[in-house]
Amino acid sequence: MTKPLKQIHLAAHFPGVNNTTVWSDPEAGSHIEFSSFVKLAQTAERAKFDFFFLAEGLRLREQGGLIYDLDVVGRPDTFTVLAALAGVTSRLGLAGTINSTFNEPFEVARQFASLDHLSDGRAAWNVVTSWDAFTGENFRRGGFLPQDQRYSRAETFMRTAWELFDSWRADDVLADKASGEFLRRVDAGAFAHHDGHFDIAGQFPVPRSPQGRPVIIQAGDSDEGREFAAATADAIFTRHGTLEAGQAFYSDVKGRLAKYGREGHQLIVLPAATFVLGDTDADAHERAAVVRRQQVSGATAIRSLEQLWNADLSGFDPDGPLPAFDPVVGENTISRGRASDRMHRDPVATARKWRELAEAKSLSIRELIIEVTGRQNFIGSAETVAGRINELVQADASDGFILVPHVTPGGLDEFADKVVPLLQERGVFRSEYGGATLRDHLGLDVAV
């Protein structure tokens, strides 16, 4: 007997502050005007995507002590944009990143419960932690959370928010005009939470929302992050977009569910993925090369190199060779506010590999950066891309993908018009929304 075909989940990420967003393209529009968000969200809904995803920013990045000025800079408030999008879409899920370090559980729970009501059950929360005092300089709390407290606060934060979501039963709003009883029980919304992180008690003001609680999404590749997701999340973001890495990650996180009494379908695995389409595969690869050069300008190449070298390389020629000296070892001080800083764990070894690669292929700095930082997942004709996405999902390398277009806001149009119909023809992607809520789209249980 053959295994039944899995249904693919797709989400659209509004491109943000990163050098994969091509702002120099003639097709690139505003990244901040609301019409851009409407355009991408409505395209995603037209294509029957599961959800729209918006990341969050809390401090402008810096490099060499100056605001980083080469990428798209600036973005809107997550909750406000998602609430507005709820008015111009009707089925699309609305997911936003909200950190647990510079917010309070009462406030965030109130906002997400409100969003879930205002969208008729389409809200999702990507829980992240912020780690640095650099970001903290914009907030009352100020400070810095040591690594060992980040997950502890995040986990407690989310569980506390759950307590607030769960403090109302679905039938607590009685609103009996004759008797004057608004609440079925006087202590609807009552909560009390006391631990090392939060010492709060009261009555939560938002009645039970359509999804019970929003869909919880989690990202984080560490052992702790995977465990946290397995215990609590409905979906997990990952970078593992290839077959082997994807399968390894997939089986790892799904394998962790059982000890929490959960089943495989209760944690959706979604890698972020970019794509470049063309009329033919060859055409797509040509376009992909053009996109890569747009993404990595000469200036971007030098700044990217500085992030590894942890030094000012502004005097170097992007079309020339790599520096002959080794990266500065120690705390990376050149760049701040960027998650990828922590990825260069052994900069000298990485630099050695890069130098060998550049010498072997005669690559300039810019060409090298194009080569080593490229993460274009799907390149090809619509037929090729649809086939590849389906292949990865059916092989349990993921449950679907969060697509990150490189152009705002029209970057999803071609995918919606050409790839989605092919997935629908194969019977692996919906042609109509089956249910009303995001939990319905994702095949998740209703939170009870």
């Binding site: 702002w23 120099s24 901040i32 005007e33 609301f34 409407v38 809390l58 401090r59 402008l60 605001i67 000025d69 080469l70 990428d71 798209v72 800079v73 600036g74 973005r75 809107p76 408030d77 909750f79 406000t80 944009v81 609430a83 507005a84 709820a86 008015g87 111009v88 510079f102 917010n103 309070e104 009462f106 406030e107 109130r110 906002q111 419960a113 409100s114 009501h117 205002l118 008729d120 300089e137 914009n138 907030f139 009352r140 709003v173 609103a175 005009k177 004057g180 608004f182 609807a188 919304g189 939060f198 709060i200 008690a201 009261g202 009555q203 003001p205 938002v206 009645p207 300008s297 971007t300």
Partner: protein
Amino acid sequence: MTRGTGPRLAVALDGAGWHPAAWRTEEARPAEVFGAAYWLDLVREAEAATLDFVTFRDSLALPADGVRGRLDAVLVAARVAPLTSGIGLVPEIVVTHTEPFHLSKAIATLDYVSTGRGGVQVSVSGSADEYRNFGRRSFGADVEGEAADYVEVLRRLWDSWEDDAEIRDVATGRFVDREKLHYIDFEGRFFSVRGPSITPRPPQGQPLVTASSGVADSSVDVVYVTPQSRGEIGPLVEAQHGRQVFADLVVFLDSSSARAAERRAELDSLALLESDALVFAGTAEELAELLLAWHVAGLDGFRLRPAVLPHDLRGITRGLVPELRARGAFRTSYEATTLRGLLGLDRPANRYVA
């Protein structure tokens, strides 16, 4: 200009209306206040009458009476923003427990999603319940002083991007001109904020800042006051030093004064209305006379709190507004595309532009 010579008009929205028993009236839809359609209906009703703006009441605790529950006001305002086009949208925010950085970008974003119709009503926390919900501090600090600092931070963050900071200079690879982004370096008694904002300067430059008298008085654009008689207006307005002054009034509106008074008495028998503002019960014509007289006495406008929704909102939009228009005292169409424009306020210059 079609604005007319009379006062500006705003409406304060909350739950089923300002009277705590409003939800028990026959036409009330008390369970629907947790859905978007309810708010959209109300705001569209106000917009059809070309009112200047609506405010959305909020607090950070469960309301003690009336509709026992409330959604986040900024999200409600944002939800209706793309589906309206002329009216100003002014959610209340409680600044005592929240982060100015978050609220600055939220209100800036409200301005983006409404294409220039965003504002905010700043309020402080007066309830121990709200303190317990956050658990960060004890009750009773200098919340008014803190609110003034908070508004200063909101405004500095809105200005922290110059309007033309985004340059998209392909030749140098620069998306922004970092010389046009500014650290605000606010250091106060209660908090410090470094900046710049993550959100570019909003369409109005500075969304409209409003507050009840006594809250951050010197830093707001519009002050709400609660005179009980015409005689109080002169000194009240003088004390506000040129800021626009709106009087708050709770209104019951009906075809006869007797009917309005009777309706008020019926609701009062069910629950006590505790109002800081004058409670008006009468006809649209009588209210029009009162507003015009008070306007002449120095008030720029009024924020009417409908006692019962949608009944008294319709009394305003379909009764009062036609009365004022008949006297040449209210606009017949929106003459500006931004809330500041409607109120006759300029787009502020950026403090950081040399």
